[in-house]
């Protein structure tokens, strides 16, 4: 896709691309779509970014960031996404900016430099077994006891909790009836006594977690924002993660195109008739990119792109489903060979894409909820 940028923005992205080209991240086991980086590899990469001045792209300069525009942030994330590199996850893109907005001076001074250096990784603790899309009904309780909170309850799908230093916990500090108005955000160290993290392996081979809180004691000053006003913080944090990069799918598309031009000796990997489907995907990939660009430009213009982000999410996740299924349709029997096998086509990426696609339609607010948002906020239909 053609993107017209300012000279400064262009130079920023070119420099970043050059930096990544020269960084031997593959030697550290990074840059592989289906391989979740280990904690040490991730830390190595974040350190490399930090030491070379490539962290906190959108953060204000006074907090150690680069103070770059939303367009630069978008292109930066696209670049990392295309190369299947970690981009600091929500810790850098979402939690950091939220602490800048709602945190105390002490929290900013303590946490922000560590986030930039990659010393802190924060997992999001929102979802519970009985509170998924209906987050306002969450039950994990933080009871005030003098200068501490005592936390009891359970979270699920707490991805990254097993290697994170903290959990960004949405806990009930008010009544159950108050729903969203009785929720606070508390930053809980994962080393706290009483926390148990159980792995929950997914069908794509990735790991997420269940986290149990059994009378976990956390100082009150670990709360971010006011008590019972966590809902605004959750909403605000979500608005920082509105840009949905298409880079990893673009990488898939490019990889498949290369396979097509070099059919395997043993079998015609993709048939001629696939070419037209590939062009259909080229068009749909372009739309994915246009939706991402629009979201970035909305943020750049100072607007919160709720509906635009929902549209982007629905489109991209369902596009991923189509490419996963259709590509396998054309691969034939060889496509049954799974990830990790020596003979799996393209190292097994098709297997990985197929297993992963449902998560893309469910995670980050499922597509049914996104469609509600589009209809109600975007078209003014009644709730």
């Amino acid at each position: 896709m053609t993107v017209i940028v300012t000279k400064e923005q262009g130079e920023f992205v070119e420099s970043f691309r050059t930096f990544l080209d020269q960084l031997d991240y593959r030697a550290h086991g990074l840059g592989i779509a289906w391989q979740e980086p280990e904690k040490e590899e991730r830390k190595w990469f974040y350190q490399a970014l930090y030491e070379n001045g490539w962290t906190g792209v959108g953060w204000p300069k006074e907090f150690g960031g680069l103070g770059r525009s939303a367009i630069e942030q978008w292109l930066y994330i696209e670049e990392l996404s295309y190369r299947h590199l970690p981009f600091g996850g929500l810790t850098v893109t979402s939690i950091g900016p939220t602490i800048i907005r709602f945190g105390t001076d002490n929290q900013k001074a303590e946490l922000l430099p560590k986030i930039l250096r990659g010393d802190i990784d924060i997992a999001i603790g929102y979802t519970e077994p009985e509170a998924g899309s209906d987050l306002g009904s969450l039950r994990c309780q933080a009871r005030r006891d003098g200068d501490v909170y005592r936390i009891n309850g359970q979270k699920i799908f707490t991805t990254a909790a097993h290697y994170s230093t903290h959990i960004w916990l949405a806990a009930r500090t008010g009544t159950q009836e108050a729903r969203g108005r009785g929720v606070s955000i508390i930053l809980v160290p994962t080393t706290s006594k009483g926390i148990t993290i159980h792995p929950l392996m997914t069908q794509s081979g990735g790991r997420t977690n269940q986290v149990f809180f059994d009378d976990v004691v956390v100082p009150v000053d670990q709360r971010v924002g006011e008590e019972n006003e966590g809902w605004n913080i959750i909403m605000s944090a979500l608005s920082f993660e509105r840009i949905i990069p298409y880079g990893s799918v673009a990488r898939w598309f490019d990889l498949t195109s290369r396979l097509r031009s070099k059919p395997r000796a043993t079998t015609e990997l993709l048939e001629d008739s696939y070419d037209l489907r590939a062009m259909e995907f080229a068009a749909e990939l372009e739309i994915s990119a246009l939706f991402a660009e629009r979201t970035a430009r909305e943020i750049e213009a100072g607007r919160v792109p709720n509906v635009e982000a929902s549209i982007s999410k629905v489109w991209l996740s369902e596009f991923r489903e189509r490419v996963a299924k259709t590509t396998l349709d054309f691969v034939g029997p060889e496509g049954q060979l799974g990830l990790g096998g020596d003979d799996a086509p393209a190292g097994g990426i098709f297997d990985y894409l197929y297993r992963l696609y449902p998560m893309m339609k469910i995670g980050g607010g499922n597509n049914e909820v996104q469609r509600n948002i589009i209809a109600q906020r975007g078209l003014g239909l009644p709730r």
Binding site: M1, T2, V3, I4, V5, T6, K7, Q9, G10, V13, E14, S15, F16, R17, T18, L20, D21, L75, E78, E79, Y82, G247, A250, R251, F253, D254, S257, R258, D275, L276, A278, M279, E280, A282, A283, E284, L285, E286, I287, A289, L290, F291, E293, R294, E308, I311, V314, W315, E368, Q370, R371, N372, I374, A375, Q376, G378, L379, G380, L381, P382
Partner: protein
């Protein structure tokens, strides 16, 4: 009605408001249903008013000077109103003539259009090998083989511009008179005629442009496809708007249809498709204006918009129930037009293979361009 994504400036918005109100004024007097029943099939008074107000003047399209965004906006309004008439065929022919013809050849055609003489086009929607072929060995410039094809609004007696194959893989535009032709009704409220080109035109002179290359052919066809996509976005907006309104008014089971989640999700799908089409058209126009390569973006816009249109009218008809299926209700014009416009763009295979002709360097990351004061638009290559 939501505003148009590719109306960027105050001038664009003024164009939109003014042109829309003109078209609405005439359609209020003679609705499409009545126009469709007339012999001529369109509102000649509106056609003349559009010319008298300068909407097809040299300010919009002149030799070598096309205000593509303005043409796209006009056609978007025509699409929004499903207004039948030789608007698309004439404007797209004018754009082709303007881009591909020299002043001597193109000026008379454009001047005629400015006076209100419609132009038909033959060629867009066809693969290059399907085009009529000129017999370059004949000094009279005859056709090599008999040929027939569809000309939108070709029965009105104006000239038609035929994109023809010439020798050595080149192409030429050929201006011919179309009378007498028999106008036929289309799937939608438009009319078209089948043009028969005999081998020998018995001395009747053909007016030929200079030869142009396949690359130029591909580029100019992509512009016509982009204009079609722009027109389609108007239809998409109209269908989304009328359906949003309908579901909020229509009550069933004691509440508006809009309260049902299943209905809301159909509407959400329509919004996603409409935005996809509008953004793709907007990007292609931006590329055209800035001097970046625009063919790929244009073909993608045409493919996505036409696909979105048909999907969208499908959901809209489902949500409307029986009333949307009746001739009393305007949705049927859009339902029919979505399919007819898809046919006019050519086969899906053709559209997709056009995209493949300009699908690039195997690197799908954003291609960055910067405006350079000295050298114009510059493509950034470092780190790719």
């Amino acid at each position: 009605m939501d505003e148009v994504a590719f109306a960027r400036s105050e001038e664009d918005l003024a164009t939109l408001v003014s042109f829309r109100s003109l078209v609405e004024r005439y359609l209020d007097k003679i609705p499409i249903k009545d126009l469709e029943a007339t012999a001529v099939g369109f509102d000649e008074e509106l056609w003349l008013a559009i010319h008298q107000q300068g909407w097809m003047s040299a300010d919009i399209v002149d030799v070598g000077d096309v205000k593509l965004r303005a043409v796209a906006l006009l056609l978007s309004v025509i699409g929004e109103k499903a207004c039948p008439g030789p608007y698309f065929s004439s404007l797209s022919a004018a754009v082709l003539v303007s881009i591909l013809g020299n002043a001597e050849w193109a000026s008379p055609l454009l001047k005629n259009l400015q006076k209100g003489i419609p132009i038909g086009t033959v060629g867009p929607g066809l693969a290059s090998h399907e085009l009529p072929q000129l017999d370059d060995t004949s000094s009279a410039a005859d056709w090599k083989d008999p040929w027939k094809g569809v000309v939108e609004w070709g029965h009105l007696g104006g000239p038609a511009v035929v994109v023809a194959q010439s020798g050595s893989g080149n192409f030429k535009l050929v201006s011919i008179e179309t009378v007498p032709l028999n106008g036929e009704k289309c799937i939608d409220a438009e009319r078209a005629a089948v043009l028969h080109l005999p081998t020998h035109l018995s001395g009747k002179p053909l007016s030929l442009s200079e030869a142009f290359s396949y690359e130029k052919f591909h580029e100019s066809m992509s512009i016509v496809a982009l204009l079609r996509a722009a027109s389609i976005t108007g239809g998409l907006r109209a269908v989304l708007s009328m359906t949003s309104q309908y579901v909020q008014e229509r009550q069933q089971f004691g509440q508006p249809l809009a309260k049902f989640q299943a209905v809301q999700h159909h509407l959400a799908n329509m919004r996603v498709e409409t935005d996809a089409a509008e953004l793709s058209v907007s990007k292609a126009i931006e590329c055209f204006e800035s001097g970046a390569g625009f063919e790929r973006a244009s073909w993608i816009a045409a493919y996505i918009a036409s696909r979105s249109y048909e999907r969208s009218v499908g959901w809209a008809t489902q949500v409307h129930g029986g009333i949307g299926f009746t001739q009393e209700y305007p949705l049927q014009y859009f339902f029919r037009k979505a399919r007819a416009d898809k046919q006019r763009l050519g086969t899906v295979q053709l559209l997709l293979s056009r995209i493949s002709e300009v699908t690039g360097d195997g690197d799908s990351r954003p291609h960055l361009y910067v405006h350079n004061l000295d050298s114009g638009l510059e493509k950034l290559e470092a780190g790719r």
